[in-house]
Amino acid sequence: MAIKSKPRIKVPSGAKAGEIIEIKTLISHEMETGQRKDSTGKPIPRAIINRFTASFNGKTFFEADWFTSVSANPYQAFFYKASESGEFTFTWKDDDGSEQTAGAKLTVA
């Protein structure tokens, strides 16, 4: 299954310089493991999101490779040390090659 729904992101809108903020993300995806069989006994092929990337002002600061053991509708939380105002870009890469991105703005006081 390709990525089809809008990801959900929780990022604080503002932070102090040097503050470490938590970012939470959630995307809808079946994360089909390739281990299951359909009703006729044929294996259902693997179809997962295999990579999540987080960048700020174009610079990647966190990357996750997901394997088949990651639950359906993958949730990922991680941290970022705020230094300047700018924009986050989050990317989810599907096994089928498709990508979904989402963004969020951060203002550093």
Binding site: Q35, K37, F61, F62, F67, S69, S71, Y75, F78
Partner: protein
């Protein structure tokens, strides 16, 4: 099964998954990964480099009622400066059909080498984490999770 005596490549690992499926069709239980499979993955990544205990905090439930969604919080102790930070963290589940769970790559800009994710566990098993520091040092930690209802197969 020959699961224990050889180091599978990625393709062979996929093949193993298929073999496991086939075995599942014949036998009542899935053929699952083993501690040896985790050791083989680690050997591929880091060779025979020694690993020390510590630095990693694995926050996992002792008992997971639902193996489909097991929360994992991982936190590696590090100042996360340009000169001293956690480069990568690998998480394995030694009783799942395929042992890899996640690989994280951190940067000093991450601020904290910590992350939370939800994973599937097929049965009661150990979750193993390995952290690679910017100076190349390796640390490992292990925790057992008891699973009441498995999160794979079906």
């Amino acid at each position: 099964m020959q699961l224990r005596s050889w180091t599978p490549s990625r393709r062979e690992t996929m093949g193993l998954g298929l073999t496991a499926l086939l075995a599942a069709a014949l036998a009542p239980r899935l053929v699952l990964a083993t501690e040896e499979a985790v050791a083989a993955e680690l050997k591929k990544l880091y060779g025979d480099k020694p690993m020390a205990d510590g630095k990693i905090k694995l926050d996992l439930p002792e008992i997971a009622e639902n193996g489909l969604v097991v929360p994992l919080n991982i936190d590696v102790e590090s100042p996360m400066t340009d000169g001293d930070y956690v480069k990568a963290v690998h998480v394995f589940a030694d009783g799942n059909p395929l042992p890899q769970v996640v690989t994280y790559r951190f940067t000093p800009q991450s601020g904290k080498a910590a992350a939370s994710v939800r994973m599937r566990l097929a049965q009661t098993q150990n979750v193993v984490a390995v952290a690679e520091m910017s100076n190349g040092a390796l640390y490992t930690a292990k925790a057992q999770v008891k699973v009441t209802i498995g999160g794979c197969g079906g």
